[in-house]
């Protein structure tokens, strides 16, 4: 098994002063050209997917599904995984947005599930107060369940175009999801037919109270840890939780977030970092030569990494130009099949339809 490689592209990078090194004005973040450039670098780096963070918190940018959809038709060769929150949004809208991203990207879509914790975000919607993480993740679990059901609510062969009977669609192959939970109910079926992957890749971050949801629903779990030993231990805990949830642990890839600032050698990287200023790491950080990151991946403490550049687009350029070729050389990554779906990249087949055989 080779290692997985994902990249996160948020604004000008994770460092708060990254904008100063971007070489483009702040308004560039509002243009398609900037995001297309990042996606092209991710594809060049052979990344399994480009993670596009999003939230309703102050300081967030353009809608991440919108960016992914804008990029998809012009940048082939990498998965596109926008974050979509479940706290103040409608599961029905969410399900068709992600399914449609899958359609316009020919099977390269994923969904990173996230919750909105703050009073600030709640006040922007004015519908309900902020809730504790355990409650938010219970709601997220319901959202994923109903979204997955909506993704299956059209069987693949529902459209029949039968001139003899005048029927366009076989209504027996359209299914009400009839979901009623603690937080909402949804009747269904979706208005959107089943997508190329049927179930776009579901990504969940390991954070407070998210483990049960990840264990039950995630195809990919993103983790943060200060070193590889702790990352490995966390991976074991997640795999155990996946098994407890009745799923095959090998069907879930655990990817460690690794903050990166890479340069020709360690001292150059250190100088670049000093120029930006001190900024506490929220996970393992690699300040150094490209080989330093290759070494981290080669340890195989986890199933792969999500590279989180401190600066963009520079961080992705080094990844594409310097790191990716070394990973191929060392056999840590294989050249990707450009036509592969995102699920295929993670060894996942197209899932069976939960409603198949059932009658609405």
């Amino acid at each position: 098994m080779t290692a997985h490689l994902a990249v996160e592209a948020s604004g000008f990078g994770r460092h708060p002063r990254a904008a100063e090194t971007a070489g483009v004005p702040p308004q560039a973040l509002l243009t398609p050209a900037y995001h297309i450039g990042l996606a092209q670098l991710a594809a060049q780096a052979g990344a399994d997917f480009l993670a596009l963070p999003d939230s309703f918190a102050p300081g967030s940018g353009l809608d991440a599904v919108a960016i992914a959809a804008r990029v998809a038709p012009v940048v082939p060769g990498t998965g596109l995984v926008p974050t979509v929150t479940t706290t103040h949004t409608e599961p029905f809208h969410l399900s068709k947005a992600v399914a449609t991203l899958d359609l316009v990207s020919a099977g390269r879509a994923g969904w990173e599930v996230a919750v909105s914790r703050t009073e600030q975000e709640a006040a922007q919607f004015g519908r309900k107060p902020a809730a504790p993480p355990a409650e938010l993740w219970r709601e997220a679990a319901e959202a994923i369940e109903v979204v997955a059901a909506l993704w299956d609510s059209w069987e693949d062969d529902a459209v029949v175009r039968d001139a003899a009977t005048g029927r366009y669609v076989d209504r027996e192959k359209l299914h009400y999801v009839d979901f009623t939970g603690e937080f909402f109910s949804v009747k269904g079926p979706s208005i959107t037919p089943r997508s190329p992957q049927a179930h776009p890749l579901v990504v969940v971050r390991d954070e407070q109270d998210s483990l049960a949801v990840a264990a039950r629903w995630a195809d990919v779990v993103r983790i943060a840890a200060p070193d590889l030993a702790q990352a490995h231990a966390l991976r074991e805990r997640i795999r155990a939780a996946v098994a407890d949830a009745g799923r095959e642990p090998d069907a879930v890839a655990v990817l460690l977030d690794v903050e990166i600032l890479l340069a020709t050698d360690e001292s150059a990287a250190r100088r670049a970092y000093d120029d930006l200023g001190e900024f506490p790491a929220s996970t393992l950080r690699v300040l150094g030569a490209p080989d330093a990151l290759v070494d981290v991946i080669a340890e195989r403490a986890v199933d792969g990494i999500t590279a989180v550049p401190l600066t963009l687009p520079g961080g992705l350029r080094v990844l594409a130009d310097e790191v990716a070729p070394r990973l191929l050389e060392k056999g840590l990554r294989l050249p990707a099949d450009p036509a592969a779906t995102l699920r295929t990249r993670f060894g996942l087949s197209r899932p069976a339809n939960q409603f198949e055989g059932a009658r609405s």
Binding site: L62, A99, L103, I191
Partner: protein, 424 residues
């Protein structure tokens, strides 16, 4: 003075019986390649914008999902953003419901589309309040029908405040919404998206006159078009607006041929495909409120009267309020036309405004219609996906250009430029 220019928009053919699926040339209405082909062709034809309709619950007929018409739609925002990648000038408009969305998220989605398309976004505000659609959403059927336009207006006010806030703190409170916070995005290339309205009730017209940049109407004949045009534009001064700040676009179909009779034949063939025998019965059942499946679509109208209380179709706007009167009218019409069958009658009565003729005739008639102030242009509703606009673009657009009534190139990058609108 230069001649009044015609505006054209293109309705992507999808969910309803106008879209013919039985034709060998009918492609998928959900494949992305269909959207790309249709959009790029509309752009070749220098259209103002492409338009996607939306309905948030599959229609039901007699308690079951309606299975005779094209059904299934991808998500509007996601398709429009993807189309921005494969077009450069074409406006990108979509229906988004004002009842089952919240302004903060919706404003962010539309602002994102406008930024990512370089100023080509348009929003068709649709109000609905039915509990049937509400079953797919958190709040269910929370809105009373009479509050539909209150909510739409407050939604628009809220969204506009967010779009134009430019970093200012929002502290917005109305019956429908409470929002406190700082909107993360600056005003968009168009200031904010172009606003489209299509309700035809008195309330809908008032809302349109006050707020819309473009209006979809469904008034067919020149006279009906002129009456609507005068009425709508006449309501604008009360809101401090000038008549040319709204572009009125009736929905229009067309059928072309090398000769007029060939075009007539093509038009009839399309109408027959749109109203299959089964579809004719389903339409009749909508008005009658009864199961009429035992009736022969090629036979006469039923003797039994409609059941005025019954509502057997859900998820579709009902334009006819008095089924008994409709039945009476239809019986008289069938009689007067020499005994029309059910299917012939439905073909007759569901016909929209349509231009039928050679490309030159169609161009001349369209031009005459617009020059007579029956509209400012049209939203074309082709019957085929994705090629339904091809012949129009290839043959009719050059004729319109020869008449001096249609642009020969885009004059600016944004949809507001195409519509001749100022930035808000």
């Amino acid at each position: 003075m230069s001649k009044k220019q015609i505006h054209l928009a293109a309705h992507f053919p999808g969910v309803n019986n106008t879209t013919v699926w039985s034709d060998p040339e009918a492609g998928s209405q959900t494949d992305f390649s269909s959207f790309v082909a249709f959009a790029q062709n509309a752009e070749r034809g220098l259209f103002d914008f492409l338009f996607l309709a939306e309905g948030l619950r599959l229609r039901e007929h007699q308690g079951k999902i309606h299975d005779l018409d094209v059904v299934g739609r991808p998500d509007t925002f996601t398709v429009l953003n993807a189309l921005a990648a494969v077009t450069t000038h074409l406006g990108l408009g979509g229906t988004i419901n004002t009842t089952f969305n919240e302004p903060w998220e919706l404003a962010k989605q539309f602002a994102s589309l406008d930024h990512l398309s370089g100023g080509r976004a348009a929003w068709n505000l649709v109000t609905s309040s039915d509990a049937f659609t509400g079953e797919n959403f958190r709040r269910g059927g929370f809105l009373q029908p009479e509050q539909r336009y209150d909510r739409a207006q407050q939604m628009l006010d809220a969204a506009r405040e967010l779009w134009l806030a430019d970093g200012r703190l929002i502290d917005h409170h109305s019956d429908q919404f409470d929002m406190v916070g700082r909107f993360p995005l600056p005003p968009t290339p168009q200031g904010h998206p172009v606003l489209i309205q299509s309700g035809d009730s008195d309330q809908g017209r008032e809302f349109g006159a006050k707020t819309a940049d473009a209006i979809f109407s469904r008034h067919g004949s020149t006279q009906a078009g002129q009456e609507f045009y005068r009425d709508l534009k006449g309501r604008m001064p009360a809101y401090g607006r000038k008549p040319d700040e709204i572009t009125i676009l009736p929905a229009t179909t067309f059928a072309l041929g090398e000769t007029e009779s060939e075009a007539q034949e093509n038009g009839h063939r399309i109408r027959e495909a749109q109203v299959s025998p089964q579809t004719a019965i389903a339409f009749l059942e909508q008005v009658w409120g009864r199961d009429l499946s035992a009736h022969d679509p090629d036979g006469p109208l039923p003797d039994v009267d409609p059941d005025p209380g019954a509502e057997i179709t859900r998820g579709r706007v009902r334009h006819e309020k008095d089924p008994l009167a409709v039945a009476q009218r239809w019986r008289e019409l069938a009689e007067a036309k020499g005994g029309l069958s059910i299917r012939e009658l439905i073909i007759e009565t569901t016909a929209r405004q349509s231009f039928v003729g050679t490309p030159k005739q169609v161009a001349q008639e369209m031009d005459a219609y617009v020059q007579a102030d029956a509209s400012d242009g049209f939203i074309l509703v082709p019957h085929l996906t994705p090629g339904g606009l091809d012949e129009f673009v290839e043959r009719v657009v050059p004729e319109l250009q020869d008449l001096g009534s249609y642009r020969t190139e885009y004059t600016g990058p944004t949809l507001r430029d195409h519509l001749g609108l100022r930035r808000p």
